[in-house]
């Protein structure tokens, strides 16, 4: 037989020597810092039910997961992140905890990404979850902790971007859009903040996924049914199905098909609404810069559109609370979306020369979405350990960190 060398799976690497030592040193330094701030360690399984991650994290993550059916017939996935697992662990024993609860974790996560986009399909996340804490002080605590970790490692030239999903959501709420269009727009925030050409690109995507119907002549029959009152329309469709002699094969009943058909006729988004929404979102998401001027611009947009300015007040107070302690350049960035659908409020990221070092935010709806009995406010963030290591290596600071070993 061909005795070919077996290499690691693409996107996975071995670590040893100084490289491994650096990773270990970073991890212990951060772990000690978290501990000093009152965060206890938790470890969760690498393998979870796929459903845990699909429930609220949003579609994009689903497409990146390593998912398979085990021999017992369970559909399982390698974790693509920690938050869902930590919240699951919390919900399971929720009554036994005193809130707020501070947990820290570290370990490998797995995401199948095109190799052009990321060299690693396994990377290490180290982060915290602060569960049961409302109020801006909690936001400030978590962001300050993220900054403290960067300082602890001695990384310089970092910048902190803060955004607020609530601002964008309340802007969209006033526009009568379907959930689908809303979700697409929120996930397109980073793109929409780029330039005017991106509006066309996002619009194309909306059309290609069918969220936005291109203006087209629907048949007379179809538009007629769309205008009928509910009961008549249902009867008409049932008649139509019989007339077409389309036997209903499979799991869907005629009534169900008819109801969705009707919904589709009546419920599609008006192209002009979507257009307005896109322009507004593009305008808002391009607001980025030093807190004072950025917030001033955002306020002007909020006033113009008559949207709730409360999240803006929060952001202002948050940046006051953080003050100058962050040790890095702070920007407000409404184009920040973080790619996960569960965020509801503040979101933030720390970069070094465009390399994202950490990210997180507030996700007040996640506990209930994962089966918790009541809403529990929560927020957290995670570092990408490999990126921290890369940044330190560039600054020549890894050796200093591992000297004690």
């Amino acid at each position: 037989m061909d005795n070919k060398i077996i290499r690691p799976v693409p996107g996975f690497v071995d670590a040893q020597g100084a490289d491994l030592a650096a990773r270990g040193a970073i991890q212990s330094a951060i772990q000690r810092l978290f501990k000093r701030h009152g965060y206890d360690r938790i470890d969760t399984p690498i393998l979870e039910h796929t459903d845990l991650f699909l429930r609220k994290s949003g579609g994009e993550l689903a497409s990146q997961m390593y998912t398979f059916t085990d021999q017992g017939g369970h559909q399982v996935s390698l974790r693509p992140e920690f938050t869902a697992s930590v919240i699951r662990a919390f919900i399971q024993r929720a009554p036994s905890f005193n809130l707020p609860l501070r947990w820290q974790y570290a370990g490998p996560v797995f995401r199948y990404e095109p190799l052009e986009r990321s060299r690693y399909r396994q990377f290490t996340q180290q982060g915290v979850e602060l569960i049961g804490a409302t109020g801006l002080e909690a936001d400030a605590e978590v962001i300050a902790l993220a900054c403290a970790g960067i300082r602890e490692l001695g990384l310089s030239n970092c910048s902190l971007d803060i955004g607020h999903i609530g601002v964008v959501l309340s802007l969209l709420d006033g526009l009568n859009l379907s959930e689908r269009v809303k979700a697409t727009l929120v996930s397109s925030l980073p793109e929409l903040s780029q330039d005017a050409g991106s509006i066309a690109a996002v619009k194309d995507r909306l059309v290609s996924t069918g969220a936005l119907k291109p203006a087209s002549g629907e048949s007379y029959l179809v538009s007629l049914i769309g205008c009928l009152p509910e009961q008549q329309a249902e009867a008409a469709i049932e008649g139509l199905l019989t007339g077409l002699r389309a036997e209903t094969v499979g799991s869907r009943q005629a009534s169900e098909i008819g109801a969705r058909f009707l919904e589709k006729l009546k419920g599609s988004d008006k192209p002009e609404h979507v257009e307005t929404a896109m322009n507004l979102v593009a305008k808002l998401s391009s607001v980025k810069g030093k807190p004072a001027p950025a917030l001033k611009k955002a306020r002007a947009i909020a006033a113009e559109q008559g949207i709730d300015a409360a999240p803006l007040e929060q952001l202002e107070r948050l940046s006051d609370l953080l003050g100058k302690d962050t040790g890095m350049q702070v920007s407000i960035n409404f184009g920040l979306a973080r790619g996960l659908a569960y965020y509801t409020g503040t979101v933030f990221e720390i970069y070094r020369n465009r390399l994202p070092l950490c990210g997180g935010g507030r996700y007040d709806g996640l506990v209930r979405a994962l089966g918790g009995e009541q809403d529990v406010a929560a927020l957290g963030f995670a570092y990408n350990l490999e990126h921290l290591k890369e940044g330190l290596a560039e600054e020549g600071k890894t050796t200093k960190l591992t000297e004690g070993d």
């Binding site: 061909d2 689903a62 497409s63 190799l115 290609s208 036997e247 094969v249 869907r252």
Partner: protein
């Protein structure tokens, strides 16, 4: 394993089996199989090439792992089975037969579903109701990639047992993804395709292992000869060779008339030869031979008649060789990169 021969894997079972044998025969590199029970064969015109018959689903992985050097597969099979970082590359992507499409098909009673976006919506809605959209297919990877790229994230794949088309009617799947050439089977099973539900347009293609081809000059040379013949055969399929007799004062005068329409005056230009007239024929006659694109046949005939042509004969060339074999040049460039 030590193999000096170039090993060519050919489908043993699928719709591609017979057409592949016919195609190689038409390329003058006929596969000679001593008996239909033997799973190896030879190509007498290519000493050093050994044919192995394999299940079409296995061919790509056989080439990836190196137990065959070249193989004939449906493009959709190749996309489904290839390794993302593997050594298998496509040498000829359109062999001109085995055309089919990998399509999504839903029950035709689903009047509310006409596009992939509808399906994505439906899957999200079913998920809210605690159900999952069940997809029956033999193309797990392609289905996942396509669905995810279209924002259809909530579905589960169901193993195909027997005829896929029956799965929705029998109730073990909601929809299917399968190949179809004509759509007849789908329609007979009360299934319809979606407006944008074609995942891959496929036909027979030739794939090969670039690592193995790079290692052996002999294998590369046999591959070159296979590519030469396939390309010449495919090229020839687009052209006719026309010969007409035209009366004129000289070769140059005839040439001037013919080339007045450069687009139907042959690839380089016409070949003109004097015809030695039989007794009783008047004037100078010339035979004009042109190679033209098939679609321009009538145009060319009318043009030749217009300048006095008669006795026009049309023949199909078997092979047409250009100055170089493009698919071989492409392969060499690919091997340079590897």
């Amino acid at each position: 394993m030590d193999r000096d021969n170039l090993s060519l894997a050919v489908p043993s079972n699928s719709e591609l089996h017979e057409p592949t044998l016919r195609f190689f025969e038409s390329c003058n590199i006929a596969i000679s199989r001593p008996s239909s029970r033997r799973y190896t064969a030879e190509i007498p015109a290519l000493p050093g090439a050994a044919v192995v018959f394999q299940r079409s689903a296995d061919i790509t992985s056989k080439i990836d792992e190196g137990s065959a050097d070249l193989g004939v597969v449906g493009l959709e099979r190749y996309y489904e089975s290839r390794m993302e970082d593997g050594d298998t590359i496509v040498l000829v992507e359109n062999m001109g037969y085995g055309q089919c499409e990998l399509v999504i098909a839903v029950p035709d009673s689903w009047i509310d579903v006409s596009s992939v976006a509808d399906l994505a919506d439906l899957s999200a809605q079913m998920r809210e109701q605690g159900r999952e959209l069940r997809v029956c297919t033999k193309y797990n990877r392609l289905v996942k990639q396509f669905f995810y790229s279209k924002g259809l994230n909530y579905f589960c794949l169901v193993d195909a047992s027997g005829a896929l088309e029956a799965a929705p009617a029998m109730g073990y799947a909601d929809i299917i993804v399968d190949i179809t050439a004509t759509g007849v089977t789908l329609r007979e099973n009360r299934l319809k395709t979606l407006t944008d539900g074609v995942i891959v347009r496929s036909q027979a293609c030739l794939v090969g292992n670039r690592r193995l081809l790079k290692q052996s000059a002999l294998k590369l040379d046999i591959t070159r000869r296979i590519l030469e013949m396939i390309e010449a055969r495919r090229q020839a399929g687009g052209y006719y060779s026309i010969t007409a007799n035209i009366r004129g004062s000289s070769e140059d005068a005839v040439a001037k008339h013919v080339t007045a329409r450069p687009e139907i005056a042959g690839i380089q230009g016409p070949t003109i030869a004097k015809v030695f007239g039989k007794r009783g024929s008047e004037g100078n006659w010339y035979a004009v031979t042109l190679v033209i694109e098939k679609a321009r046949l009538i145009e060319a005939v009318e043009h030749l008649r217009g300048i006095g042509g008669s006795g026009i004969t049309v023949a199909s060339p078997n092979y047409m060789f250009g100055a170089t074999c493009q698919s071989y040049q492409k392969l060499l460039a690919e091997l340079d990169k590897a």
